[in-house]
């Protein structure tokens, strides 16, 4: 029988600390998205390069990022690289882990988007005297980013949620880490994690709705 008396006030008293944590969570997610998009574009270029070793590097990255647990990737970014004497702080480790994951997934999104753009466009650009890179930069890439804009907001949501894995590498300033610390202190597990879930939900919902609004405004045909 569930005979537990909820003490919401104890959790609400801690709301300011949790909101500070939410800021750190958003900071990690935003930085990892910016770097993830940049890296995904590089990976896409590597895959288009036609050079076997470069394609192999990009393919390996995408395969590992998409087919292993995010927890594993983040753990490796902290404990894995440390066995080679490279030390990252928890913040940097989680940032690297999520960026790696973002880049892999986004590269795959970009690949899908590229398929939706007719080859003839690149060829038209080439015939107008643009170099291969220029035609990618000015003709293909803007369309690619437009087509994959909504999937990108999905990845942003995923990045927000992945920050909760930071506790495995010693993070305690993000939303999940703060909540866990408060839980250890007070044992008010249900109230604190319910509050954290609401904050997570509000953040991710804002991102999806915001993404849709931006898309509607920017991508009118």
């Amino acid at each position: 029988m569930f005979d537990y008396t909820f003490q919401w006030k104890q959790a609400l008293n801690r709301l300011p600390q949790m909101l500070d944590g939410a800021l750190v969570t958003m900071e990690i997610a935003i930085l990892s998205m910016i770097m993830g998009i940049a890296l995904a574009i590089v990976l896409t270029l590597l895959r288009l390069s036609g050079s076997r070793p470069l394609i192999a590097i990009a393919t390996t990255w995408v395969e590992v990022a998409r087919n292993t647990p995010a927890l594993f990737q983040i753990y490796m970014a902290h404990f894995g690289v440390a066995s080679f004497g490279i030390h990252f702080s928890p913040f940097v480790s989680i940032l690297i882990g999520i960026t790696f994951n973002n880049a892999g997934y986004l590269a795959e999104n970009f690949r899908g988007a590229l398929k939706a753009i007719p080859d003839t466009q690149a060829r038209a650009g080439r015939s107008l005297g643009l170099s291969e890179l220029q035609s990618f930069r000015y003709i293909i890439m803007p369309q690619m980013l437009r087509i994959s804009f909504l999937p990108m907001t999905n990845q942003m949501v995923w990045a927000i949620l992945m920050t909760s894995l930071g506790v495995t590498v010693g993070m305690n300033t993000d939303l999940y880490g703060v909540t866990q610390d408060l839980n250890a202190l007070t044992f008010r597990t249900f109230e604190l994690f319910a509050l954290a879930a609401v904050i997570f939900y509000l953040i991710t919902k804002t991102i999806t709705l915001g993404g849709r609004l931006i898309a509607a405004r920017l991508f009118r045909y």
């Binding site: 440390a82 030390h87 495995t168 305690n172 610390d181 044992f187």
Partner: protein, 268 residues
């Protein structure tokens, strides 16, 4: 006739009320099973043997409690942060999980009298040259998230105003980070520190001294409103000491001088 039905109704209501009042202690005895939350990542209190079976001080303590109740013990592995959800959701009856009995936590769960007491020790990576508790000032230190020592150490680092504190999820991760040099030093229970240094799994680390924290008394916990059961737990802890079983278990799993479970100059 009317009177008779009334009496029958009263009797049946009393009967219903009687079953409804069965408390946790009754439930455990009638189910024939005692489910204990034990942390199995916390040697020598809770760990697994070569056959993956749970062993340790807390495991034996749970088995003793079950034997006293005349039921069979069931060990439910709960990492530190999951002890309370396991209790509140009814997955376990009692926590035998080296849980510090802080006043803040006692607002949520009910604690027995202390059944064990820890001293805290500082373990450092030898490369850092840290030789004492105060020597940790300015370094990166860590402990297991959610433990008594983690809360105390984090407060200390804030007070020092330099250095960093990092909580990891398990004791194994803390010592892994320490051996890799990600952490310069850690504070853990002296029992854990000795066990891990002696295991040789974590390279060039050593116990360099005690941490001047208050003795960390740990207690059994159950739901706060289960007075009957908590009362039984208190007597059980008392009997364990009285019968010499506490000393016996301490010798078996830890060894050395047995910590006192009483606080001078105060009742309980």
């Amino acid at each position: 006739m009317n009177k008779l039905t009334l009496i029958a109704a009263v009797l049946s209501m009393a009967g219903l009320a009687g079953t409804a009042q069965a408390d946790k202690l009754d439930d455990i005895i009638s189910s024939g099973k005692l489910r204990c939350a034990v942390v199995l990542d916390f040697p020598p209190m809770g760990m697994r043997d070569a056959n993956n079976q749970p062993i340790g001080f807390d495991v034996d303590y749970c088995k003793d409690l079950a034997a006293a109740l005349g039921v069979t013990a069931e060990i439910v592995e709960t990492p530190f942060p999951e002890r309370i959800p396991a209790l509140m959701s009814g997955r376990v009856d009692v926590g035998v999980a080296s849980t510090s009995d802080t006043l803040e936590r006692a607002k949520t769960v009910g604690f027995s009298i202390p059944y064990f007491a820890f001293e805290m020790a500082v373990t450092a990576n030898n490369k850092t040259g840290i030789t004492s508790y105060d020597g940790m000032k300015g370094y990166t230190v860590g402990a297991v998230a959610g433990t008594y020592e983690a809360i105390a150490l984090e407060a200390q680092v804030k007070e020092w105003g330099e250095g960093n504190f990092r909580p990891y999820q398990t004791q194994a991760d803390v010592f892994l980070a320490l051996s890799q040099g990600q952490l310069d030093a850690t504070v853990s229970t002296s029992t854990v520190a000795q066990a891990n240094v002696q295991s040789g799994n974590f390279g060039d680390i050593s116990v360099v001294g005690f941490a001047p924290f208050d003795t960390d008394y740990v207690a059994l916990f159950a739901k706060r409103n289960e007075y009957g059961f908590l009362n039984y737990l208190n007597l059980f802890v008392n009997q364990q000491v009285r019968t010499g079983r506490y000393d016996e278990l301490y010798e078996k799993w830890v060894g050395g001088e047995v910590p006192q479970l009483v606080v001078p100059n105060v009742y309980r």
